[in-house]
């Protein structure tokens, strides 16, 4: 007998009709199955200890038993032996019942009186093959889950390292800037034009390094903040107002006109992270403004259930559509001349992801600029 994966399978026939039991045993024996490996149970109660012992490779079950009927039989077998393939053998010619039995986990459905030994043999072979494939799939999924767990663990360690490194490096960098400033102010160097130039360049480098370390720290700390569970209900208007108040000087300098629409929507979010999100997006609008008077529109609109779409639209220089997904990657800058370090939008992406939302870029105002859109959870 070619069962696909098991050389001498142990079959359990759950059937209370003695005639059918005798006939099925005859067919199986004639087709090469060892008779002593075909066990018989007249009811689910009789089958239970056999299935619980875990030695059964395949179940042949009638749907009309003294203690279970119809799909209940499949359900009981599935519960008792989740990984053992089931073939239903029944006199019921009900197509709907057959479909439901297959949906509940039966591998095949044969109608008594309408199948012959070849059909039974084929059903057994296919049931083993499908069961084998399903077991392999489960094993692959388990391996994938394990890899994923290890990857997450490794990411956590890396992130922890990045947090500690960026945190601990900030102090020496600050000190270096102070020392560089003192050095440049010393009478010996202050009069030397070349030294002054080098000092200014050094300060610029240290300043960028400081910004980068702060960005990395913000990025790494976003998840810590998110997992602190300090989620609160706050309206978009209040979050935007607080953020814009902090940015007032920059917005004035840029001559920005900011408009808020739909701010009454209440978010169930981490306020510190959402303010950081709004801050980064608005700062980008300021940073990448065009010659036109800067306009920024912050709006909300309903999205899928439980979420709202927050949209920050500007009329700045915009981003070519082909780069609109790339900009969310870490350290991605579209121009080497831009003053950013390429962490702002990746931080936004992370904050939105931590809130279970999506972030993307659309066209801006009147075909100019961009709109950064993201979905965020609303107050239930």
């Amino acid at each position: 007998m070619d069962s696909g994966s098991i050389e001498h399978p142990r079959l359990l026939l759950i059937e209370d009709d003695e005639t059918f039991v005798a006939m099925t045993r005859t067919i199986l024996t004639e087709r090469g199955f060892a008779d002593h490996r075909t066990l018989v149970a007249g009811s689910i109660a009789d089958a239970t200890p056999m299935l619980q012992a875990g030695a059964i490779d395949l179940i042949l079950a009638d749907l009309s038993l003294p203690d279970a009927f119809g799909l209940e039989v499949v359900r009981e077998c599935r519960d008792l032996a989740p990984s053992v393939p089931i073939i239903v053998l029944t006199a019921c010619r009900d197509g709907e019942l057959a479909s439901s039995a297959l949906e509940k986990g039966a591998q095949d459905y044969l109608i008594k009186g309408e199948f012959d030994d070849e059909d039974l043999l084929r059903a057994i072979r296919y049931a083993f093959a499908r069961s084998h494939a399903a077991a392999e799939l489960r094993a692959t999924l388990r391996a994938l889950e394990e890899s994923n767990r290890q990857l997450e663990q490794s990411n956590d360690q890396l992130e922890q390292y990045a947090t500690i490194a960026s945190h601990d490096l900030r102090a020496p960098v600050r000190t270096a800037r102070v020392l560089a400033g003192r050095m440049m102010a010393s009478p010996d160097l202050a009069g030397n034009a070349q030294s002054v130039d080098l000092g200014v360049a050094l300060d610029g480098c240290l300043s960028r390094l400081e910004t980068m370390l702060e960005g990395l720290l913000d990025y790494a700390q976003a998840r810590d903040l998110s997992s602190s569970g300090d989620y609160r209900d706050e309206t978009v208007q209040s979050l935007v107002d607080e953020t814009l108040a902090d940015m007032d000087a920059d917005l004035r300098e840029a001559g920005a006109h900011v408009q808020v629409m739909g701010g009454e929507i209440s978010l169930r979010a981490h306020p510190v992270l959402i303010r950081s999100l709004i801050h980064n997006v608005v700062r980008n609008s300021v940073k990448y403004r065009s010659d036109r008077p800067l306009r920024i529109v912050i709006s909300t609109q309903p999205d899928e259930a439980g979420k709202t779409m927050l949209k920050v639209t500007d009329n700045g220089i915009g981003i070519d559509p082909k780069y609109r997904t790339r900009v969310f990657g870490m350290f991605e800058r579209l121009s080497s001349h831009s003053e950013g370090i390429g962490l702002g939008l990746s931080l936004c992406h992370r904050i939105v992801s931590l809130h279970g939302g999506r972030i993307w870029i659309d066209d801006g105002i009147g075909g100019n600029g961009i709109a950064i859109c993201c979905t965020l959870p609303v107050t239930p």
């Binding site: 006939m23 005859t26 067919i27 006199a91 008594k112 009186g113």
Partner: protein
């Protein structure tokens, strides 16, 4: 059926025939009781028809299996207007079984 399986099933047929007659007797008992039949008699007749429809087909008695399936279906319905039809089906099954001895 492959020839060796067919032969093995043919060897079993006398025993299956006797069991089938016993099942038919249960259906006859219900039929004879008519409106006075008990729920237990009804259940026994349904179970007998169910078993006959399953096993007879496996032994190549497709016609008899099909009649037994019709009896089973009829027994799940309200029989008020179906007694003559049930009687006729039982007679037909009896005749088919007699032919299969």
């Amino acid at each position: 059926m492959s020839p060796n399986v067919r032969r093995a099933l043919d060897d079993m047929w006398p025993g299956v025939y006797d069991a089938s007659r016993a099942h038919l007797a249960n259906i006859e008992a219900f039929l004879l009781a008519g409106e006075a039949a008990t729920a237990a008699q009804h259940r026994a007749a349904s179970s007998a028809a169910h078993r006959l429809s399953g096993s007879l087909g496996m032994f190549g008695r497709r016609d008899a299996s099909s009649v037994a399936a019709s009896i089973e279906a009829l027994l799940t319905e309200d029989l008020t207007a179906s007694w003559p039809e049930l009687r006729s089906l039982v007679d037909r099954l009896d005749a088919l079984l007699s032919l299969a001895t």
